[in-house]
Subunit: 240 residues, 2 copies
């Protein structure tokens, strides 16, 4: 018996979802391991995270090929198309998240050779934990089409931005207090900025979950991030 | 007379290409104007660049909708599908380029209030000119399916990375020489890093041009960028 076209479509969508979850799991592990390598100053673990990013890239490539094959085979109608196209967008966000984890890992061997900045490791770790919890929740929201959970992820991105702003002020202060801190603090600034960007990509996934289900494009968010507005070591403007 | 399906597909593709070129033109203008605002310390022009980014975002949204409509209507075969899907990828890269121009513009009002760092403005301007010329060429390569031109864009990205590395060393040196330079140099570091990322996105567009025509995924590039490996004010490792 020839399966009903919709059933075939649903089976394909389920396969795509499994691939997304597999990719999401790998990316979550990469962020966790990169953070662990950073916290425990483990250059060897960091190197493994860098190398393993290729598996994430390969999964994105698999997903894109599967999407194209599916479009050609099933020729889904418009509403289903949005769902399929959204899979590609989510895969793109996950790929970028993997890149940021790799970028963090790439800085570890350099940081291992530098003095520790008081409080920085713990603060970056907290930021990472927040982003990781958002990623976990957004993947759950994606699997279960849980719009309320997706919305909480969007809301929590403001916290990420606020934590990043605070870290920026701290690192700039450390730089000014002692020029020997400048290089290491520069790396820490970029690490914080990377987590802030990770928060944005996790948020974009949450927006896709909401968009596919409701057809509503998310309203532009009030960005909590204002590191581009920092005017002095302790001067962050009020727009954040 | 009902048009041949292929003709309809080609007409749609042409429309999509026009939208991409329109979007590319707007993004190129945004980068040029943000750079001009940065060079001439023009906070008002910078503000206009920030506001106008919404038009770029709207164009991406139009392109994605047009792609979905087209997929539903024309149900193209696999080889054509790659071409259509690639339009979405290019639009995504252009949207990100627009974001980086906006980010540069957002830093201008802060930089206007700071002392100038000797040579920095001219160096950033050169970096911007290089990225802009790459963007112009990649859009030409896209329109004319000019693989050789696309390849020159890929090659020039190494220059962007090298210029970024040099700027990083310079800015770190300035920070160490005088802590009063730290905040402004931090903004300059992020500006340089943004141009380096712009180069990556322009390169991704060039890779799409080659991929759609030849079916060949680009080989992973030897990255010239090595700012994550900076260990001291003048110590950039040799991997770049």
């Amino acid at each position: 018996m020839k399966p009903h076209p919709n059933t075939a479509f649903n089976a394909d969508m389920q396969n795509l979802e499994i691939l997304i979850l597999k990719m999401g799991g790998r990316v979550a592990a990469a962020i966790e391991r990169a953070t662990q390598a950073f916290v425990s100053r483990d250059a060897e673990l960091a190197q493994r995270v860098v190398l393993e990013d290729q598996h994430v890239d390969a999964l994105e490539s698999d997903i894109n090929s599967a999407v194209v094959r599916m479009l050609a085979l099933r020729q889904p109608a418009a509403s289903d198309l949005y769902e399929v196209v959204s899979v590609m967008k989510v895969a793109g966000d996950l790929e970028r998240l993997g890149d940021y984890a790799k970028n963090l890992a790439r800085r570890v061997p350099v940081l291992v050779q530098s003095d520790r900045i008081e409080g920085a490791t713990a603060a970056i770790r907290r930021l990472s934990m927040l982003v990781q919890s958002m990623l976990r929740d957004v993947l759950d929201a994606y699997t279960n089409t849980d719009l309320a959970l997706a919305q909480t992820v969007l809301d929590r991105d403001v916290e990420v931005d606020q934590m990043t702003n605070t870290l920026f002020r701290d690192f700039l202060t450390h730089m000014m207090e002692d020029p020997r801190n400048i290089t290491v603090c520069m790396h820490l600034l970029f690490i914080a900025k990377n987590f802030e960007r990770m928060g944005d990509h996790v948020t974009e996934i949450g927006e896709q979950v909401i968009f596919v289900e409701t057809g509503e494009q998310p309203v532009p968010r009030a960005k909590g991030e204002s590191t581009s507005q920092i005017t002095g070591p302790l001067g962050v403007d009020g727009t954040g």
